[in-house]
Amino acid sequence: MSIKLEKVNKIYITGEVQTVALKNVDLEINNGEVIILLGPSGSGKSTMLNVCSGLDTPTSGKILIDTEDISAMNSKELTKFRRDNLGFIFQQYNLLQTLSVRENIEVGREVGVDPFTVEEIVEQVGLTPNIDKYPFQLSGGEQQRVSIARAVVKNPKILFCDEPTGALDEMNAKEILGIIQKLNEKFMTTVVLITHNPSIAIMGDRTIKLNSGEVVDIIVNENKQRASEIKWG
């Protein structure tokens, strides 16, 4: 699935203050690409991820995912669209503590049209021995794997990752990125990944640099590498 942004603006109004989070963004993300969104705090990367994924609506402009204009959808339609096509991974794992690994993944699987089995995905993320454990019994890296499994079990076309390694050490972070990379290669899932760590850029097809709500640079990665080869810094 491809994503196209056409003159997208996002302005937050709080009282009398207007904050321009995105300014006239034109962007295309191709099907199966791994896109790294890079930028300092306040650059608009989270906002871009939110509007691209339908978690938020742009103030103006269009967002097309394949041929569907998600910027014109209402809340109900957006929910359905997310259900059928999108997956999310957050920095803080966002697992349900009262559910086991299997059950957390089932939560994601339940809404899938043509989902994978829990066992398949658990194997992909390397958590088979832990399938019946609870989140509090897992390390941070393992919890993030569960989060990934939950996101991809329904076989989404696009995977949005908001700082998925932000809470992890280098070793675990590389493992997580490795899993995301593997899933992208295996299932041709488009990946949009937010990070503030420029070293992650080597695993992406392109890096989109944002600053003050604008796309300041788009770098095509001619020498795409494995996540395990990232020089963490």
Partner: protein, 805 residues
């Protein structure tokens, strides 16, 4: 630098207060409802304590100075062998013309009557030490006042026990003077010095009197407390003797030499029935169990205890919810509190705004409740005095009540809040700054998860989300149970007075009751029915009233609790039908066999049915069978039932049941008002509890709801998982509450009947259960709707940043 630091500190402190204020402002609805619950608990205790205190205190002094009886003894009016022998040998009465009753004897030979009574009293004091006795004679006068029938119980003045007490005016001095209760006088716009006609003679009111053996003007087994149409009264002794009405009597008794009621119970109450020398004694009742004189203590003390109990329960619920809310608010403040700690703020500085605002919320609510309770105490006291004939003093605030009603709950709430805050402040800053991670799953989750393994995840979540926090789950269950119980309880009180009083008269066709003279036969017109009514017989050694009816009666059919006509059961040989009130007070049931004694005759009888009547300890028997016990014929009767009016000149007394119902009106209005108040209060409390719990549980799930929306669950699916679980358990609790409530109501009814001789027939109809459930569910959905509206205001991505609590 120092000044700047201090300024910074001040500015920092005020920021802390601002932060807490803004946080709490978002939950204003819950805080208001919490305030309502806290206020209600304070109100309940205060109003009851002050209103009853304004009565009980002067009453205790009055009972003391008037030497209120410690017990009373009922005796047979019928002449027994010893009495008959005395009449013949000492009074010289012709043995062929012996009067059958002491009442009749008094009209023939009052000296002989006095002596026989003295003999009887002597017989009792010979057996039992440490008691003092005095005979209380009285006569009931029926007369018309305006268009209504009135009744006065004229008591002969006592000089040792149950002495009269004048709240205003003086005792009657001349034979045309009368003293009555102030309530009776005021209800009829009478004052001291006014005269009113009693059966053709004018009596002038000399004073307003209280008599300690009649704290409640209950003169019959009917629960009629209409102080407008009946009153105890005193006349001069001469005038009392001149009255032509039948002389009746009871013995008033007091303990002396430090004797107490427990000793009396063991030595007298438990033994007198077996003493053949005391075969004229039919009943011995301690004052505390006697509703006309001492049930007052049980009533008021019980009412006070009940209101304290209810207040305590409400307070506990309020405190539980306060605890949960404070805990919730504080948990949402983990990050800011952690930040402040890391910045170097002291624990006391961080805690102060929270304690301050909890006080701001709790104290006004408690004060409002207290003050309203204090104000309401006066009309409540006046309302109580509509029925109780007792002295009163002005309502005065006491430190004891203020401490219990204000200081203690306030201290508790602040203490609880302080405890929760300190608990959090003892954590390390970094722990507070990081997201709260569940370090284990509770046993409930593990157990339920095991059993739900095979179900769809959406179904599992319905249950598992509830069990996330055991404490909150239990709080939810207890709160919902209590709310359901309150709503059901208040509905069960609806119609209580009708069941106790009105239904009986409306179910029978009897309009007029004519009481025949002791001698001679009274007229029985067409359509009238002959009845036997003996007010004092022994059944199983308890004194009861027995009524002999023909099984074919059309005017007075008997109906059981399911409204089935059981009159035919009277034709079963040696069968009797008892009233529900008798069954409750004595614990009798269908199939029990008892011994019926009338004078020297006795017979074993069997309870064949229970009629749904609450008018005292009464039994019904086939008239022919009862007649045989009275005079060896099958045709005896002493009362006539009629649908049409009776000629009053042909009967000793004629009672119109409409008059009884009219008298019951005021009592019914009081009961209905009380029930409406109870229902209203219960619904408000129940609704508040349900609303607060619902809103809190939805807010607790903001994170989960947002996560599900992000994943792609639609509103219907999310509602099913979140609300379905809570509502499902809520309805389950409600359904479980029903049998528990029904059993509780049954036990409450038995308890009041057995220990206080009070009928309190709580009953819950199916339709009331339905309405209760509808109210219950409606409030749940209103709470859920409001909570979900709040959720919609938070953007998805913001909601996802809220750490799961």
């Amino acid at each position: 630098m120092k000044i700047n630091k201090e300024l910074l500190k001040l500015s920092g402190d005020s920021m802390l207060f601002k932060n807490v204020l803004r946080t709490l402002k978002k939950q204003w609805v819950q805080l208001i409802l919490l305030g309502v619950i806290i206020a209600l608990s304070s109100f309940g205790y205060t109003s009851m304590d002050y209103s009853i205190g304004g009565i009980l205190e002067p009453s205790e002094a009055y009972f003391d100075s008037s030497n209120q009886e410690d017990f009373s003894i009922d005796m047979l009016n019928f002449i027994l062998e010893d009495d008959a022998n005395y009449m013949v040998t000492s009074c010289g009465i012709d043995p062929m013309n012996l009067p059958p009753t002491l009442s009749l004897l008094k009209t023939i030979d009052s000296t002989c009557y006095d002596q026989i009574q003295t003999n009887r009293l002597q017989a009792i004091t010979d057996k039992y030490d440490n008691i003092q006795l005095e005979l209380r004679d009285y006569k009931d006068i029926y007369f018309n006042f305006g268009e209504d029938s009135y009744k006065l119980r004229v008591l002969k003045e006592n000089h040792l026990i149950d002495m009269s007490h004048y709240v205003e005016g003086v005792a009657p001095i001349t034979n045309d003077e009368i003293a009555i209760s102030k309530t009776f006088a005021k209800s009829n716009n009478l004052d001291i010095g006014d005269a009113f006609d009693i059966n053709g003679k004018d009596y002038t009111i000399s004073g307003f009197v209280l008599v300690p053996d009649y704290s409640l003007a209950i003169f019959s087994s009917d629960l009629i407390l209409d102080n407008k149409t009946q009153s105890p009264a005193l006349m001069t002794d001469d005038e009392f003797e001149n009255l032509s009405e039948t002389n009746q009597f009871v013995i008033a008794g007091a303990f002396i030499n430090g004797y107490n009621k427990d000793e009396f119970k063991t030595e007298v109450i438990d033994t007198y029935r077996n003493d053949t020398d005391l075969n004229f004694v039919t009943n011995v009742v301690l004052t505390e169990n006697n509703i006309r004189s001492g049930g007052i203590y049980a009533d008021l003390a019980g009412g006070k205890a009940e209101s304290i109990g209810v207040s305590l329960i409400i307070s506990l619920i309020a405190l539980m919810i306060v605890g949960i809310m404070v805990s919730k608010v504080l948990n949402s403040q983990r990050g800011p509190i952690g930040l402040l700690k890391s910045l170097g703020y002291k624990n006391s500085e961080i805690a102060l705004p929270y304690i301050f605002f909890i006080s701001i919320m709790a104290l006004p609510a408690i004060f409002v409740g207290y003050y309203l309770g204090y104000l309401f105490a006066v009309p409540m006291k006046d309302m109580i005095l509509e029925f109780y004939l007792l002295p009163t003093i002005d309502v005065v605030q006491t430190w004891k009540t203020i401490i219990i009603s204000v200081v203690i709950p306030f201290t508790f709430i602040i203490g609880l809040g302080y405890f929760l805050i300190v608990n959090m402040l003892n954590k390390k800053p970094v722990e507070l700054l990081n997201p709260q991670v569940t370090s284990s799953s509770n046993w409930l989750t593990r157990v339920v998860s095991k059993y739900l393994k095979q179900l769809k995840i959406t179904t599992k979540l319905k249950h598992l989300l509830l069990y996330r926090s055991s404490i909150k789950f239990y709080a939810y269950i207890i709160g919902m149970f209590f709310a359901a119980f309150l709503v059901l309880f208040s509905f069960s009180m609806s119609g209580i007075y009708d069941r106790m009083m009105v239904n009986y008269y409306e179910r029978t066709e009897v309009q007029y009751i004519g009481y025949c003279d002791y001698v001679g036969v009274c007229e029985v017109g067409t359509g009238n029915e002959e009845v036997i009514d003996l007010p004092s017989v022994l059944l199983g050694s308890e004194e009861i009233e027995i009524v002999g009816l023909d099984p074919s009666t059309e005017l007075h059919k008997l109906f059981d609790s399911k409204n089935r006509d059981i009159t035919d059961d009277l034709s079963i040989e040696n069968g009797i039908i008892i009233t529900r009130s008798m069954s409750l007070t004595r614990g009798y049931k269908v199939g029990d066999e008892l011994n019926l004694e009338i004078g020297s005759e006795s017979r074993n009888v069997k309870i064949e049915g229970i009629t749904e009547e609450y008018g005292g300890n009464k039994a019904y028997m086939a008239r022919s069978s009862l007649s045989l016990l009275v005079n060896d014929t099958e045709t005896f009767y002493n009362v006539v039932y009629s649908k049409t009016s009776l000629d009053t000149s042909k009967y000793m007394v004629v009672i119109n049941t409409d008059d009884i119902l009219k008298q019951a009106d005021q009592m019914q209005r009081f009961f209905n008002l009380f029930v409406i108040l109870m229902i209203g209060t219960s619904v408000v409390i129940g609704a508040s509890v349900i609303y607060i719990l619902t809103v809190m549980t939805i807010e607790d799930n903001f994170y989960n709801i947002s996560l599900f929306k992000v994943i792609g669950y639609n509103n219907k699916e999310i509602d099913g998982m979140i609300l379905g679980g809570y509502l499902g358990y809520g309805i389950l609790i409600f359904i479980l509450c029903i049998p528990i409530a029904l059993l509780s109501f049954h036990l409450i009814t038995i308890f009041f009947a057995r220990y206080f001789n009070m009928m309190f027939p709580l009953k819950l109809e199916l339709w009331q259960m339905g309405i209760s459930l509808i109210i219950y569910v409606l409030i749940f959905y209103i709470g859920a709707f409001v909570a979900k509206k709040n959720l919609e205001k938070i953007s998805l991505q913001e909601a996802m940043k809220l750490y799961q609590i």
